[in-house]
């Protein structure tokens, strides 16, 4: 097993968990637990004490990018923490989640989070670490918003995500700077370049950006406000992400980069400063919470502040204390969160104003929670006491003999910690004033087990730190400090000294302060934190978000337009303006043109250009005329292709022209009449004239620009391109003399495959859109021409018209024509590889042959006789084209390599059969399928019975 398996397993597990049925709580929990246990075992087995284990997977070797995983002491401790707490949280969540909750989503997100978190701690590359870092933000967002029907969950999730993900972006910028300074993003290179980093001019900005990332993730001032709102998440999530692991990612990164970044004045000021403010703020606010989870959230903020302060102090011993407290905090805080979850689960409330006397109903849970909160308060013989004492000792050290501010702050936090811990355990004593929403009793055996285990760890570490946590801690310390590792001893008893005095004093003062607050300030009835409620970070955040969206709306309104015409105008102006701006006007060209103009060609384009201008003019007044005129331009274009040596294009253009005209004719019926007919003689106002003049100028300008550009290019010699290659290789290697067709089905076969796929997608989109088509009410009725009583044909169906009515001759003629058109299609298809023709042209010809039958005899008649399934044509065509391409693989060649087989047939003689033939057959089928699908779907609209959209006034009349 390798390191990558460690990171990958949770992600794979996440996918599996997501696909299990909704009520599979047990299977989900077994899966997640097994993955976490597997991770634990692997982590323990892979680690070599005192050394760093690497795994590098080449990603883009040409760019020097690789996926690096790196397991040293620090990563090892955090990996154990993530997976160890993970196992317990999974077990707990199995009982916490209600059967009504969709558990696959929960466990899938939880496992994905575990994977992302392991990615952060194991990354050996800074950018890679940031990617995983942002992944933890995303999974945290998803988990907080797990109960997304609740507004507070959605709000909390958005807030947490905005803050931590923005912090992550700052971190990315900082890491990029760091990589720029060092010249590598490899963690080892960065850690080794301390002097270079700290003397560089970019050190300060990089430090600030990285600090913003870390502080926002670890809920440090001024970004701390998101954490209390994240408590809307299910309690297992709060225990796992928002106390034990994810919020520790910030302090983890500070520790990770400690060798490279710490020690400067800027480091101490920014990190220790933020930490000190946070620890005071959090501890103070925790006292005044009513929600038990809120209290724990603010307490978490405060403890994270403590760790941050220790890291900011920057001495090696402070670093030891920080790591130690990280572990201790994870154990007691996770157990406290779980205990709160149990209380919430059993009583239906977390309000400390209501909860009383729980000790009687749940003595076990109460005892456990009391022990854990004693650890939080720093009572001796528990793990919290040890690391808090280390903290006291460091704060005494940092100010020297004169500056005691840090020590006062530490003392205050110690006192506050005792107060809120006391407040926390009041729920177990006394007598409840009112009955709880549910009658509480002890939780299931295995729901309590994680709490028991964590509390046991608190006790063991608190009583015998040297032999329990000591060796583990030492690995992490060695990994960060290396040769600078100080001599330290984890022990309960260090003799009578100042830190001990501070601890004892904090306990006594805390108990006293709690009594004072309770008696004089009605602590149990307070709704908000005194003084601090004015500095609501959450409110500031909401205001900022509101201002941001208002500003966006304002600028959108000012700079944007919802009107299409304005948008097209802007695009055209840029289209015309940019080339002029970039290259200037084309320089003078060489006269005279190399080829004299053919007078017939000039006349042809007099007609073609005239058609285009007339179509532009008539599109408003007479749609049918405009369509016919545009078709005329199309025909002229087709003739031009033929004239200028492109027979394939001419054929294709001609057929496409035909089907496009039929297409638009089918659509014309559903368009409304013009709003202001010419007969009304309305004179448009002046601003309309102005707009039209402007548009005319733009049209003339862009036409002129296009003509000039085209002319300028045409008079320059053709640069030596790749055309010669295609011409040269077409016959010998492509097996065909029609270079255009060989290009399409062979040299650029992949391109063609893409294009026929687009064709399929468009055809299916058209089909799907038409299934939901609701025509305008006035166009539903049968058109006037078809209801005229004078015309005998109106009393006949289209089929009758074609079989016995006035279309009899044409009908027979067309039916006779069908096989001939079919043969024409086959002919063009077969000769395509060597002479003009091919799949595209043949497909269009065949489609036209079928459409002609529809046009004459009507949909019913044709479909009663012919089972044409355009979807299948599409599917088989694409499959054939792909299979031809894949066939090359079977012979060990790259995708779409073509091969020409030479067959000796008895009657026909020798036959060249290139594999491109089958590819072209696929193209043929796809073109037939998509053309038919589009046209038939549109044609069917006329025979469908459309429901009249009900007018609102009609509905009122009825009621």
């Amino acid at each position: 097993m390798t390191l990558s398996a460690l990171v990958l397993a949770p992600f794979i597990g996440s996918l599996v968990a997501a696909s299990l049925p909704t009520n599979a709580r047990n299977r989900e929990a077994w899966l997640a637990g097994a993955i976490a246990l597997f991770g634990l075992a692997t982590t323990l087995r892979l680690y070599v004490p005192g050394q760093t284990v690497y795994e590098r997977i080449a990603w883009i070797p040409a760019l020097g990018l690789e996926f690096t995983l790196r397991l040293d002491g620090l990563a090892w401790i955090f990996a154990l923490l993530v997976q160890g707490i993970g196992v317990l949280v999974v077990l707990y969540a199995r009982y916490y989640m209600s059967p009504a909750d969709p558990v696959p989503r929960f466990f899938a997100f939880l496992l994905a989070f575990m994977g992302a978190m392991l990615g952060v701690v194991l990354s050996g590359n800074l950018i890679q670490m940031v990617v995983f870092w942002e992944l933890t933000s995303i999974t945290s967002f998803l988990l907080i918003a797990y109960w997304h029907h609740r507004a507070d969950a959605r709000r909390g999730a958005r807030m947490a995500f905005t803050v931590t993900a923005s912090g992550g972006l700052c971190l990315l910028a900082g890491v990029l700077m760091l990589g720029h300074i060092v010249g590598s993003y490899d963690l080892d290179a960065v850690l080794a370049a301390r002097e270079r980093i700290q003397s560089h001019a970019l050190y300060l900005p990089a430090l600030i950006l990285i600090a913003i990332g870390c502080l926002s993730k670890s809920a440090q001032f001024p970004f701390h406000f998101w954490l209390p709102h994240a408590m809307a998440a299910p309690t297992p999530v709060s225990a796992y992400l928002h106390s034990a692991t994810m919020v520790k990612a910030g302090v983890f990164l500070l520790m990770r980069l400690w060798p490279a970044l710490s020690g400067s004045e800027a480091w101490t000021w920014s990190i220790a400063g933020a930490g000190t403010v946070t620890l005071l703020l959090g501890a103070f606010a925790a006292i005044f919470q009513r929600d038990m989870k809120g209290l724990l959230a603010y307490s978490t903020i405060s403890h994270l502040g403590l760790i941050t302060t220790l890291l900011g102090i920057g001495t090696p011993l402070a670093m030891v204390g920080a790591l130690f407290h990280t572990l201790n905090h994870a154990t007691f805080k996770a157990s406290l969160f779980m205990a709160v979850g149990i209380i919430d689960h059993e009583t239906g409330t977390r309000d400390m104003g209501v909860l009383r006397g729980l000790y009687r109903q749940m003595p076990y849970t109460a005892t456990l929670a009391i022990v854990a909160s004693s650890a939080m308060a720093g009572v001796p013989l528990l793990n919290g006491f040890l690391s808090k004492e280390m903290f006291f000792a460091e704060t005494l050290l940092v100010g020297g003999d004169s500056n005691w501010w840090m020590s006062y702050a530490a003392m205050a936090v110690g006192v506050f910690g005792v107060v809120y811990s006391l407040r926390f355990i009041t729920v177990f004593f006394g007598q409840a004033a009112a009955p709880f929403p549910r009658k509480p009793h002890e939780p299931p055996r295995w729901m309590r087990f994680p709490v028991e285990l964590l509390v046991l760890i608190c006790l063991v570490v608190g009583i015998a730190p040297g032999i329990s946590i000591g060796p583990v801690l030492h690995q992490g310390v060695l990994a960060v400090l290396g040769p600078d590792t100080p001599h330290y001893k984890l022990a309960v008893w260090h003799g009578f000294n100042l830190p001990l005095l501070m601890s004892v004093l904090a306990l006594i003062l805390g108990a006293w302060l709690y009594q004072v607050l309770l008696r004089r300030f009605q602590l149990d009835r307070r709704e908000r934190t005194p003084i601090l409620y004015r500095l609501s970070g959450a409110q500031a955040y909401e205001n900022a978000m509101l201002a941001l969206s208002r500003a966006a709306a304002f600028w959108l309104h000012r700079l944007g337009s919802e009107r299409l015409q304005a948008q097209i105008l802007a695009m055209l102006l840029i289209l015309v303006g940019t080339p002029l701006w970039l290259v200037g006007l084309p320089e003078g060209w060489r006269a005279p043109p190399p080829q004299a103009a053919d007078p017939y060609f000039v006349m042809l384009w007099l007609a073609g250009g005239g058609c285009a201008v007339a179509a532009a003019w008539q599109a408003k007044y007479h749609r049918l005329a405009a369509l016919a005129l545009a078709g005329g331009t199309g025909i002229v274009t087709a003739i031009t292709f033929l004239w200028l040596s492109a027979p394939d294009l001419a054929l294709t253009q001609l057929m496409v022209e035909t089907v496009t005209t039929i297409l638009i004719l089918l659509g014309l019926r559903w368009l409304p009449p013009r709003l202001t007919p010419k007969e009304l003689q309305l004179t448009p106002p002046w601003h309309v004239w102005l707009r039209r003049s402007r548009d005319l100028l733009i049209a003339i300008g862009s036409g002129l620009g296009m003509a000039l550009l085209c002319y300028a290019v045409l008079l320059r010699p053709l640069p030596e391109g790749i055309a010669a290659f295609f011409l040269e290789k077409a016959a010998p290697e492509g097996g065909g003399t029609n270079a255009v067709n060989v290009l399409l089905v062979d040299f650029r076969g992949f391109d063609t495959l893409g294009e026929i796929t687009v064709l399929c997608i468009v055809a299916l989109t058209v089909y799907a859109l038409l299934r939901r088509f609701r025509p305008a009410p006035e166009s539903i009725a049968i058109p006037a021409q078809q209801t005229s009583p004078l015309d005998a044909a109106t009393r006949q169906t289209p089929a009758e018209q074609a079989n016995s009515g006035y279309l009899l001759v044409a009908g027979i003629y067309m039916r006779l024509l069908l096989p001939f058109m079919g043969i024409t299609a086959v002919y063009f298809f077969l000769r395509g590889h060597n002479l003009p023709g091919g799949g595209f042209v043949a497909g269009l010809i065949f489609a036209v042959a079928l459409i002609v039958q529809y046009m004459l005899a009507g949909t019913h008649w044709v479909e009663a006789r012919m089972h044409l399934r355009p979807h299948r044509w599409l599917g088989y065509g694409l499959m054939l084209a792909c299979a031809t391409g894949l066939g090359a693989w079977a012979f060990g060649y790259p995708f779409l390599t073509s091969h020409t087989a030479h067959l000796d047939l008895p009657v026909l003689g020798e036959l060249h059969l290139p594999s491109a033939f089958f590819f072209d057959l696929g193209v043929f089928c796809t073109v037939v399928g998509s053309t038919m699908l589009i046209l038939v779907a549109l044609g069917h609209q006329s025979i469908r019975s459309h429901r009249m959209p009900e007018r609102p006034d009609a509905r009122q009349e009825r009621s």
Binding site: S645, R774, P836, F840, L844
Partner: protein, 114 residues
Amino acid sequence: MEAVVAIAIGVLFGSGVWLILRPRTFQITIGLMLMSYAVNLFIFVMGRVWIDKAPLTLKPGIPAIGDYADPLSQALVLTAIVIGFATTALYLVIMIGARGLTGTDHVDGKEPKA
């Protein structure tokens, strides 16, 4: 020849531009058709103007540069023509669909304020 082709492309493009600046969906559709003719022709003649030199290498021997038209621009345009048909169909269906849903054929889905 070159001048004629260039002017033709310019006229088609200009007519198309005029139409796509109009407010009615049908005008836009016809405008896009005209523009696609212009653009297809433009791409096509980027391989220069050749007369009677279709890229069919029927003669034996290695083909010389001046003997045949550029097949690359032709191949590019050929698929573009077919795709052009498909996108025209898509415009058309969106056009009539929007007409049914909004009750107007104005491009913005509502009649402009007078």
